[in-house]
Amino acid sequence: MAQTIRVDGVRKWYGDTHAVDGVSFDVEEGEFFGILGPNGAGKTTLLEIMEGLRKPDDGEVSLLGMRPWPRNPRLLPRIGVQLQASSFFERLTAREQIRTFASLYGTPPAAADHWLEVVGLTDKADTRTEKLSGGQAQRLSIACALVHGPDVVFLDEPTAALDPQARRNLWDLLREINNQGRTVVLTTHHMDEAELLCDRVAIMDHGNILKSGPPAALVRGLDAPTRIGIETGTVPVDGARQLFPDAEVSDDGVSLTVSTRNPAAVLSALADRNALRGLAVRGASLEDVFLDLTGREYRA
């Protein structure tokens, strides 16, 4: 499989701050790749080096077989970037906005109007971008990044500051973009989002990639206990402790939770006693992987 992006030993220092401190990874063609980490982890700097906005102090980036730095006009039409939500020309309507971006690439206005339709903004075409909601502005800015039909798309925290509905709406759009065969690289500090969307993620903190791989593999690799919850009172706490001596049992007055590495045994024992009222089974999530790696509170 072709490697669309190759990052090799990239470093970037600002004075004593190591924004990116020796990062290497590959992104394959058509892959949905997530760079995950808290604010200030160096995600945006890394993304900007990959896009060719910044020169790495050390290391190399190859994008579609070319070097993004210094500015490479042959590469630019093949990549689409969304830098931040409000990267719009002032006081233009949604249609004027996307048509302006389209013209920068020699793309005809009809394609711009088509993209407005794809992101569901046709009825907002004559609305000024300042008046769009957060979700609408994000969809427009993604459409502006895609209007010229790039092969690789870079999105910097596309769902930051969106409400849950707008976030889900945007996820559908991002999946669709990736389904069309484009390689998508996004940064996020939402673990759930990365877990849901990305083929592979790289977890980043303090300028380093701590771990990378498919989200499910990272979670499995954590070997974390499964938490099984039932309604309080279904089984007495002491009874549960005797029943599952290897597990950790706690009760907060609402749910009784059993944390175990052998969920099958616990579930069948509870089922035998017909004690599954209010059952909720939670495996480890990417967030657990992250907390395990960084060993401290997640700083969103």
């Binding site: 499989m1 394959e28 063609e29 058509g30 892959e31 949905f32 896009e51 060719g52 906005l53 500015r71 006009p73 042959r74 630019l76 039409p77 990549i79 970037v81 830098l83 931040q84 409000s86 990267s87 719009f88 020309f89 002032e90 006081r91 233009l92 004027e96 048509r99 302006t100 971006f101 013209s103 920068l104 690439y105 020699g106 793309t107 005809p108 009809a110 394609a111 088509h114 993209w115 339709e117 794809v118 000024r128 010229h148 039909g149 790039p150 092969d151 559908d172 999946r175 669709e176 990736n178 389904n179 069309q180 065969g181 484009r182 877990e195 849901l196 083929d199 498919p214 989200p215 499910a216």
Partner: protein
């Protein structure tokens, strides 16, 4: 959860281009109309590259101009505000030159009445003469300040009554009357006068206040428009990362700068058209033969003010801070450059100081070719100075330039 992921990397055909992507999950999705430029034309060489550069230049210029046209506050300060100054100043001061002294003639004053027709007409330019019969009532009027003077003639003696409260008006009337009497005395001798005085203003005869204030306020308007135009594009585009976004499109930096320059020059021309139309239409502004030479002057001025704007925006973190810096430069510049009133009465050091401002040179040049009727060649030095300002200031701005805030 992970089974919801839309795409299994292994199933993807590596050669699939986005344009011919397989059926997508959403019905409206296939972007078949997206027309990707051929790889060969991407470098910007050849006809396709030139055509793309032209369309992107035009669409950037259009985006900037629409942004300007829809900015109410910006429109107010670049168009309406200087125009209000023009209307106030033009209306307030424009009639001072033709203000006539009101003189009451009691009974018959042969000295005035027997003047030849042309001399009478000339006198009519400075005096508004009203014949009255009631001497006491006429004196009351002068005392009240309604009229400047009462003139009566008793034999060969001319008597002028005036009010000490209006010394200027009285002195004017007295001066005119004295010269009338002396002319009459010379005529009475039957000799031709030995000495004569021809007085001539060093300015063009028609250089009334409106002739002075229109180029001055126009210069002020252009300075505000070009300075703030460049500052706001630089600062807001930097804040919104549009500058960065543009460098990641195939559009080159010269295209972006060129579009901004053309838009600012267009705005300056619109300002010029409005000012000249209002000046000529309402306040009797008369343009000299070579007024068109003000257009290259205005273009050179626009460039130097834009470079001031770039300098103001170079270090500013927000548009508010940038406006404050731009105001701090443009307002003193407007006063010291004689945009509102002539600098002739100012001390020499101040007039010297004024020369550090490009607006001073633009104002001088525009005054010369718009109303003083100087030759087009005479303002070439001003154009050169304005261009030099632009080169020096934008070089400094380029050295101070930063892509990001912080």
């Amino acid at each position: 959860m992970t089974s919801e992921r839309p795409l299994d990397g292994d199933t993807l055909d590596a050669s699939t281009a986005p344009d011919s992507a397989p059926a997508s999950a959403v019905a409206t999705a296939p972007p078949a109309v997206v027309d990707r430029p051929a790889p060969g034309g991407m470098g910007g060489q050849g006809q396709a590259g030139r055509a793309r550069r032209t369309t992107s230049f035009l669409s950037l210029a259009r985006a900037m101009f629409l942004g300007f046209r829809r900015d109410r506050a910006g429109l107010f300060f670049t168009l309406l505000f200087p125009l209000v100054f023009l209307i106030i100043f033009g209306g307030l001061f424009n009639n001072t030159g033709t203000y006539k002294q009101s003189v009451l003639e009691v009974g018959s004053v042969p000295l005035i009445d027997q003047l030849p027709a042309d001399a009478r007409a000339e006198l009519g330019q400075v005096f508004k003469i009203t014949k009255v019969t009631d001497r006491a009532a006429a004196l009351d009027k002068v005392r009240n300040g309604d009229d400047e003077a009462v003139i009566e003639q008793v034999g060969d003696r001319i008597v002028m009554h005036y009010s000490a409260a209006d010394a200027t008006g009285a002195a004017t009337v007295q001066g005119v009357m004295t010269s009338l009497i002396q002319n009459a005395n010379v005529d009475a001798t039957g000799q031709p006068p030995k000495f004569s005085l021809d007085s001539d203003s060093v300015e063009d005869k028609s250089l009334s206040y409106i002739q002075y204030i229109t180029p001055g306020l126009l210069g002020y308007a252009i300075a505000i428009g070009a300075t703030f135009g460049a500052t706001s594009t630089l600062v807001t585009w930097r804040q919104k990362k549009i500058l960065r976004r543009l460098t990641l499109s195939p559009v080159g930096v010269p295209t972006v700068i060129g579009a901004r320059i053309v838009v600012s020059m267009g705005i300056a021309l619109i300002q010029t058209a409005i000012f000249l139309a209002v000046g000529a239409g309402f306040f009797g502004l008369k343009l000299s033969h070579y007024w068109w030479m003000s257009i290259p002057l205005i273009f050179a001025g626009t460039l130097s003010f834009m470079s001031i704007g770039l300098l103001a925006g170079a270090k500013a973190k927000s548009m508010e801070a940038a406006s404050a810096i731009a105001n701090l430069i443009t307002i003193p510049m407007a006063f010291l450059s004689g945009s509102f009133f002539p600098l002739d009465g100012a001390p020499g050091w101040l007039q010297g100081l004024a020369k550090v401002f490009p607006l001073r040179h633009l104002n001088t040049g525009m005054l010369d070719v718009m109303v003083r009727g100087k030759s087009p060649v005479s303002v070439l030095p001003e154009i050169g100075i304005l261009l030099a300002f632009a080169v020096v200031l934008s070089t400094i701005a380029a050295l101070m330039f930063r892509w990001d805030d912080i």
